[in-house]
Symmetry: C2
């Protein structure tokens, strides 16, 4: 209910996924009277179970307000379905802050995780077409231990969501030389390097902003402040170039003709950098998977988020992630005890 | 001497600027025997005075090493010419870290400036075509007072380099809501807001990564770590899209034909986002102006950096900036004394 385009866009995206994939079942949360006709219109009545929830979380609602007064909202009901095991994964395009707080409080953090993170997909030069970056906004702080956990969670996501057997991890910094960057980044460099063998990933060391879409890395680790700035800067740059490209092709009658001929090529480009295709930030580190779709998502965007959610649920992603983090915690404990002894 | 393309590219760029603008005089620093034939070939002998300096600062030289042992280098000689008043502004495409350290130590900070900053130009939707962002890498730390000084320095740059009478300043954060971001950003928000009236700028508050190229702001203020990540992420995204566009137009024979017809339009786009045209990070806050060109700059890039340097020198930029900072320091002192009284 909380997306910019209302429930019609959500049901349209759901219909698209339902037609493509007969193995998905849907629980749809919101005011029953409003949702029922939308579902009937798309002939989805036997694929979709509606959970009546009259309240709506608005984009400008404060997360703490939702936490106190939001029990009747569609967002609460959605998270609750994951909590009590009825749903395997939640998809929402509502208020990110409220969704995060609700997810953390109701689903709780996985044993051993200090800070949950939001991971996003980034168009890249890699064969899969995407790199993973985290954290892109769950928490503005992260110490070296948190950054190690982000690396482990990102590796699990790359393995189960992207099918990369041995992901390459890079740590975002303002230069690749070892002396660059803040103190916590130097500590994280050591920790992530030490964890590579047991974690079954490769650590490529520090990477720069220009490396985020590169083919030398699969998972980019950073704190939520820096990751948020990088993500929005990348989106803003892509949108600027899109506008400039449109203007360039409108400049003269000849360029309009050229644009017509170039349409297929431009669509090919558009498809590779379409933010709707990378739709779906994933909350990592909780007892349950939550996929956060863009607030402005349309049917294509919603359907992409559902596809990602299905893939993660099917791979048993969350259990594997929990096992990884537990193993790393145990290892660190052993090391600490050995050091003490 | 320290650029990726050697002195030939520098002299080619210099020739371009010399032909366009009869009012510029040049001091060229480096090994005389190597530079003399290059200058003669371009028929620039009466426009260029060569200062013999046999040593070269390499891209991987440690700044501290250059500081101790670099007295014979072309970089040292260049900064020295600004220091002793022979040159009004220095242009270099060498090692950024070494150039910054040399500039800070030899030119010294302006009275009242705590941390110097590097400002860059960013392609934008504004009429001028560019926004200014600082700091993009001089210092990874910045407290609230430093961020206020960056705002004042950025405003001076926008006024004298871009001709914007009343620049709009934004503070980069992971959201525009007042409760977002780190503590020092909240303090900086208050300080920059208070300084707007006397500083003759408008403060638009927090801006996000997506606003960097927007038309709602002229000057974007941030610390050098975040600014560096944003700058390189933006450049990396633009370069990715450029490659994808090229591939899209090579896909089929028809798309190759379309590309041919679209060439003028694509060149028009290229010109607006060409990193060579925005070439020239400016070191702000020192007794003397230093323009840092990309290491990979070619003749077009060098010439753009020289043009910017000329513009800033002619406007008496550095004296005006110093006056602004001094006025703001005096005002803060008055306020502090009034508060104590």
């Amino acid at each position: 209910m909380g997306g910019d385009n209302g429930p019609a866009a959500v049901v349209a995206g759901l219909a698209r996924s339902a037609h493509k994939n007969p193995d998905i079942g849907f629980l749809l949360h919101g005011p029953k009277a409003e949702l029922e006709p939308l579902v009937a219109k798309r002939r989805l009545t036997d694929r979709v179970e509606i959970r009546d929830a009259p309240g709506i979380v608005r984009m400008d609602d404060k997360p703490s307000h939702v936490m106190r007064n939001g029990k009747d909202t569609s967002m609460w009901s959605t998270i609750e379905a994951v909590r009590n095991g009825e749903a395997e994964v939640a998809v929402s395009c509502g208020n990110t802050g409220a969704l995060m707080l609700l997810s953390v409080v109701r689903l709780r953090k996985i044993e051993g995780v200090n800070r949950p993170a939001i991971a996003c997909l980034w168009p890249s030069r890699n064969p899969s077409g995407f790199n993973i970056m985290l954290d892109v906004g769950a928490d503005i702080r992260a110490d070296a231990g948190d950054l190690l956990q982000y690396a482990l969670m990102g590796v699990s996501y790359a393995r189960n969501g992207q099918g990369i057997a041995r992901p390459r991890v890079g740590l975002l910094n303002n230069g690749t030389e070892e002396h660059k960057g803040r103190a916590e980044l130097h500590d994280a460099h050591a920790l992530i390097g030490q964890g590579a063998e047991t974690g079954e990933y490769d650590f490529v060391g520090f990477v720069e902003g220009g490396d985020i879409p590169s083919s030398r890395v699969d998972v980019i680790v950073t704190d939520g402040f820096t990751g948020n700035i990088a993500l929005k800067t990348g989106e803003g740059t892509a949108s600027l170039i899109r506008d400039f490209l449109r203007e360039a092709f409108k400049h003269t009658p000849l360029s309009r003709l050229a644009a017509l001929l170039a349409l297929t090529s431009l669509r090919r480009l558009q498809k590779r950098i379409d933010p709707r295709r990378v739709n779906g930030g994933v909350f990592l580190g909780l007892n349950g998977t939550v996929v956060k779709s863009h607030g402005s998502a349309d049917a294509t965007g919603i359907s992409a988020a559902i596809k990602l959610a299905f893939k993660l649920a099917r791979s048993g992603f969350n259990e594997r992630l929990a096992a990884r983090v537990a193993a790393a915690s145990a290892l660190n404990k052993d090391r600490a005890e050995a050091a003490d002894g």
